[in-house]
Amino acid sequence: MGEFKVHRVRFFDYMPSGIRALAFNQDTERMAVARMDGSVEVFHCSDRFFQEKIIPGREQCGIEGLSWVGERLFSAGLNGGITEYDLTNQKVKYTIDAYGGPIWTITGNQQGTHLAVGCEDGTVKLFEVNEDQIQFERNLDRQKSRIISLSWHPSGSKIAAGMMDMIQVFNVETGHSIHRMLADRGAGTSRSKECVVWSVVYLSDGTIITGDSVGMVKLWDDQTGTLIKSHNVTKCDVLALSVSQNEDSLVAGTSEGIVVQFQFVSMVLEKDDKEWVRTRTFRNHTHDIRAVAEITTAVVSGGMDAQLVVRPLLDKIEVRSAASALRKIHFPHRRLVSCARKSGLMLFQYPGHLELWRLGESEGKGTPGSSLFVKRNPEKLLQLKVKGEDHIRCSAVSPCGGWIVYSTASTLRLYRLHCDNNNISITKISKLPKVLSSANQLCFSSDSSHLFSASAQSSVHIASLSQSGCKFVGTLKPKSGSHQAIHLLAASEDGKWLASANSDHEVHIYNLQTQKAHCTVPVYSSAVTAMGIHPATNCLFMMHADQQMFEYSIEQKQYTDWSRTVQRKGLHRFWVERDTPCLNVMFNPQNPSHVILHDMYMLCIIDQSLPLPDDKTQFYNQLTLKSLTEEQRKSQSHAFKVCKTFKDILCVELMPDQSLVVVERPLEDIATQLPAPIKQKKFAT
């Protein structure tokens, strides 16, 4: 098969941002995640938790709560504003000020008519959800202390609010407080500290469940306003609560990083007097859990350690499959690295800036497994800070290394890069065409002569690049009516074809010469996670979130024979069960039958000329093959050549000199940069 020189790059200091809020939409099976940096992501729970949409954050945004109202997503934050998101175009739709100071919580009623927000000034504000906006309706009775948490009664007539040291129950009609329940402070020294009711859940049977800073999960009766039962969960804070749809299970996340499950079960078999009983404990986090959500078959939790953990509840799963495995999502399902292949430059995308690096050079040759002498160290050429408060949505460096482009929610900036030996200069292209105001995805043509900018309504704008500047050429529009944002673009090597993939799983292929839509690939049920056009055959190779792969001949407008064979024979079990999506598709110009793929844990070369493995063959066979002779290898090898030498991979690129660039971000390095977790007494420490 062959040797590869690999640049192992670990100087991309990508730091995922901590998770602050979760909101689960039962109907669409989407999980919205708000992070500390203000970004909001939408995961498709039934499509292997693929990160469908990313709405980048902005400075000083400080989201504190997320809420779905129907299919609309709202957030509120410490800046005092309520934000609705345009999920189609993956951007903020509008923000209105609630005029109540910082907002600690936002929640919509089940009827989808109202939003309630809890403010610093002690008011619960009700907003009416209109067709295209929300409108302030009224305040409930103002309280003396801030409103930390809110929960609607499913009927929508009552609302429970968690505050400092107490819980109030309001009648929504009158706006008056029905009950005031006092939360106990902790014993001993913590008696002087206020008890913060971090989270409240209002059940349809009138039970109010609260989680507080004393470490208690308490159950209250809203008829009498009395405490029914309390569970001491932790010595620290109970920060988040979430109840399942049918109200038989509750999960609580604590600042120790554990998730505790309570279940509503009858104490005596087949009797009806049920009680909330603490059942399970999950320890998947190292830091505070700021948000939990119980979805149909799993508990989703996220916190300061920035990973989204999907812990399946095995009692609710009928068939064990890849979907029923514990899933930890560390990295975004988008590429944060782009590579100027012809000049050996790499562009790293951070939320607020870009970094351009030149790869190092090696000397001599080495045996497999050895490290080569680094003749020239990698070099950071450029750090480009974003103007304004918005974070970067997408960025790209042209294959020749002469152009850098990035886009935030509001602006798109294109730079010309002059690079002769050690002198780096950069000039901003000032007069950009109006249509290039913002982009969902950016891509250069392989000869760096054109810039493709995915824009609203699933359209792609084409701009030609020259020394003089940037000139708008035309817009490619899909034939279908889908308006979903494009998250992937792929241009063919010969400059003839462009493929785009959007959140509706549609893949459109355009003829760049005629600037017309060429065809649409049949829509597959799972999202496209990566795609590429083969330089020799002009076949589009697509990877999907469910790990299926398709090869579509653009010229013949049909799947290739190899693709049909793969679908007919099926993929190997081990391949399908991987839990991170493939994020890049590359081709080896020297060996047209090779397709190079990678996910977070592995690098894979698919040799289309070799037989496909069936479930009986050994899938990860590299070690076996290594021990065999050349002759024996022929009979043993199959199409999937998986290399697991690298881990925590953010990006893999194939350079023209046949060397690979592997950008790793070891999770241990991330862990060391996280703030210290709550100190816990451990044995023998």
Binding site: V6, H7, R8, G360, S362, P368
Partner: protein, 714 residues
């Protein structure tokens, strides 16, 4: 090691009347080793079967009569003898019921004791020091008894020792603080008086114990200050006249630790040549309480076993056939004990130990030495007939046979014995048989059962300490084969003996040596070693084209007239014959301590040193050529052993080697070779450093922020 087993009570002790001498007058051996005769100080004599703890017969004297000495059993006539009211000797048989009706005779003087040894006539000791055989006394009871002792001389202690059909009566006396020991021998009757001379300030000995060992009587006596002295008396009287008082030389053999309390009494009894049982002295680690029975090893001054005795301790202690009889409190306890032969090898753990070796301890205690042999023979033969129909020889029979039989018969019998004896018994017996064989060989010049010795060695139950004479005997007989096997098997040969053997080997001409039959494995090794030389010379060059040029260049700085040839091929012929070499190899592999070996090495003569050094050099060169690697042999000297011996030899004879002209060449060669080796190892050390760095660099997985690596996919 010695062990005290769980004891049991034999009988109660009558009420104590006077404080010092208590309920029991004496315990004497009965008609069998399992029977003892307990004489009560009141009025009764009881025979006990010890194993059953039951009395089998009891006699008492009439009211008003007093038993004045312990009753004894006359094994020749199967009669009991006791003296009542100092002058009435009574003799009766087992089936006599009434003592009054038994034979009695009144003698003319006060009788102190009747002393009886197995299979010999009892002896009557009068208070005045006169001695009569019981037979002759009873023949004419009123015969006059002469006064041997002066008027105020009192007999404190007496015993009878029997060995080689010879009886010796010992008794000690006290006269105005002066202590004397009288030794009465018979046929001819001689009485020798010894003055017991001890350090000034010592009071009277409080306890005596005599044993017969070899041709000497060993007398042990215990003082109140805890000192145990030993004196050795010749069995047969050497002095012609009995006139005068001879001083009795003594040596301190044990110092018992004393507690804070003042001791009033105590007793000691010899168990075997190395062990002594002591009662009445405090246990060294149990504080002031003195109610302990202890077994001490006199060789190593170590406490071997101890047992706490309840109740009051009297200074009385008897030992018969592996059991101690201790009156304490209101009972007489029987405590079986077990003394294993103690050698340094055993103490250091070099000798294999069995948990119950020496079931029959070697305690030649006065009165039953002879009965021991016969009685155990009976038991053993009974046991062996039960085990196998064809009765094999017992150890004792075998030992008797060895004393008299011809060489061939002895060899056959020993072989038979080794085959038949159970392993545990064999371990005990092997040493005894070997000792017996050696002593016969030493006295009888024509007697040398080599096969028997070899067979005994093959059992691997022998070690040097068990039978020290064996090696020297073999040396005298020039039995190098036996020497070789002994060297292989013994792990505790003293350095002096090693050196003596080395000397003997070196001084034996090669021609004579080649006729000796040696262990084939070792000879094959030597053959291969000497042949490897020529073979490597012939083939070495062609095999892999390797010749050591580095060493060649090493010596090129020295004057080059005759040193041009390969220094390693210098004198590669073996300086000694094959057999001598094989024996020397065995010497090289013995364990030794260099400090102890060094003075003995100086005994070697210069030619011997040179030959030995030449041989060591030969081995060293050979080993450096890796010749030995190709040779499969069970036992080969290691290179470090060789070098250690070279160093020792050079140390011992440094000046001689420096001046002797014939040694110059040898030392020069050695030096050259060693220098080249040192250089080689220095170079190897450097390489090791570089290799270590390479290894470390391979291991470092953490490459920092950036690396360019090569991977291979298949």
């Amino acid at each position: 090691m010695a062990t005290l087993y769980e004891g049991y009570t034999l009988c109660g002790v009558g009420p104590v009347q006077n404080s010092s001498n208590i309920g029991i007058l004496g315990v004497e051996q009965g008609r069998d080793i399992d029977y003892v005769l307990v004489t009560d100080s009141s009025r009764s004599i009881t025979v006990y079967k010890v194993s059953d703890q039951k009395p089998t017969g009891s006699w008492s004297v009439k009211q008003g009569q007093i038993i004045s000495c312990p009753a004894v059993f006359n094994t020749q006539s199967q009669e009991y003898v006791v003296v009542t009211d100092d002058r009435v000797v009574r003799v009766w048989k087992e089936d006599d019921v009434n003592l009054e009706k038994a034979f009695k005779a009144t003698v003319s003087a006060d009788v102190l004791r009747v002393l009886s040894a197995t299979d010999s006539e009892p002896v009557v000791l009068f208070c005045c020091g006169a001695v009569r055989f019981l037979d002759s006394l009873l023949a004419s009871p009123q015969q006059p008894i002469e006064d041997v002792l002066t008027e105020d001389e009192i007999i404190r202690w007496s015993t009878i020792v029997k060995a080689e059909h010879q009886l010796v009566v010992l008794f000690s006396t006290e006269q105005r603080g002066e202590h004397c020991l009288y030794v009465q021998r018979f046929n001819p009757n001689t009485l020798v008086k010894h003055r017991i001379e001890t350090e000034p300030g010592l009071s009277a000995p409080i306890s005596f114990s005599a044993t017969c060992r070899g041709s000497n009587i060993h007398l042990l006596y215990l003082y109140l200050n805890g000192s145990v002295y030993e004196s050795v008396l010749p069995f047969r009287s050497s002095s012609t006249g009995a006139e005068g008082v001879q001083a009795l030389s003594c040596s301190l053999c044990l110092s018992l630790p004393l507690g804070e309390e003042k001791l009033m009494s105590g007793a000691a009894v010899v168990l075997d040549e190395a062990h002594v049982a002591v009662i009445g002295f405090p246990h060294p680690s149990a504080g002031a309480c003195k109610d302990y029975l202890c077994i001490w090893n006199t060789h190593f001054q170590t406490l071997q076993a101890s047992k706490e005795m309840a109740g009051r301790i009297y200074s009385q202690l008897w030992c018969y056939s592996g059991k101690l009889y201790v009156p304490h409190g209101k009972m007489l306890s029987v405590i079986p004990f077990d003394c294993q032969k103690s050698s340094l090898a055993a103490a250091m753990g070099k000798l294999k130990q069995t948990s119950r070796s020496e079931s029959k301890s070697r305690s030649f205690v006065t009165s039953w030495t002879c009965s021991d042999v016969t009685q155990t023979t009976e038991i053993k033969s009974r046991m062996s007939t039960r085990n196998n129909v064809k009765s094999a020889l017992t150890v004792d029979q075998l030992v008797e046979h060895i004393k008299t039989s011809a060489v061939e018969d002895v060899q056959a019998e020993v072989g038979e014995f080794i085959r038949r004896a159970p392993q545990a018994d064999l371990q005990l017996a092997a040493g005894r048989v070997a000792l017996e064989l050696v002593s016969r060989s030493q006295t009888d010049a024509n007697f040398y059962p080599q096969c028997a010795f070899l067979q005994l060695l093959e059992t691997r139950y022998l070690c040097y300490s068990v039978c020290p004479e064996l090696l020297s005997l073999a040396m005298v007989k020039k039995d190098f084969h036996l020497c070789q096997i002994a060297f292989q098997i013994f792990s505790d040969i003293p350095e002096a003996v090693t050196c003596a053997c080395l000397k003997a080997i070196l001084s034996t001409p090669d021609l004579e040596m080649e006729t000796v039959n040696l262990d084939t494995d070792s000879v094959i090794f030597m053959k291969e070693l000497t042949q490897a030389h020529s073979r490597s010379d012939e083939e070495g060059g062609q095999l892999n084209g390797f010749c050591p040029p580095a060493l060649e260049s090493d010596v090129s700085d020295t004057p080059s007239n005759k040193l041009q040839r390969d220094p390693l091929s210098l004198d590669m012929s073996c300086p000694v014959g094959l057999h001598k070499g094989a024996l020397l190899n065995e010497v090289l592999q013995t364990a030794y301590s260099d400090r102890s070996l060094l003075p003995h090495l100086k005994d070697l003569t210069v030619p011997q040193v040179i030959v030995f050094l030449q041989y060591l050099r030969f081995l060293y060169f050979k080993y450096s050529h890796d010749a030995h690697k190709q040779i499969r042999a069970l036992r080969t000297p290691s290179i470090s052993q060789i070098i250690d011996w070279v160093c020792l030899l050079l140390d011992a004879h440094f000046t001689v080697l420096a001046v002797a002209p014939e040694a110059k060449r040898l030392v020069f060669d050695l030096h050259k070779f060693v220098r080249s080796q040192v250089k080689l190892y220095a170079e190897l050390g450097k390489i090791e450093g570089s290799l270590q760095v390479l290894k470390n660099s391979k291991q470092s997985e953490d490459f920092g922020m950036y690396a360019i690596q090569v991977i291979e996919l298949f």
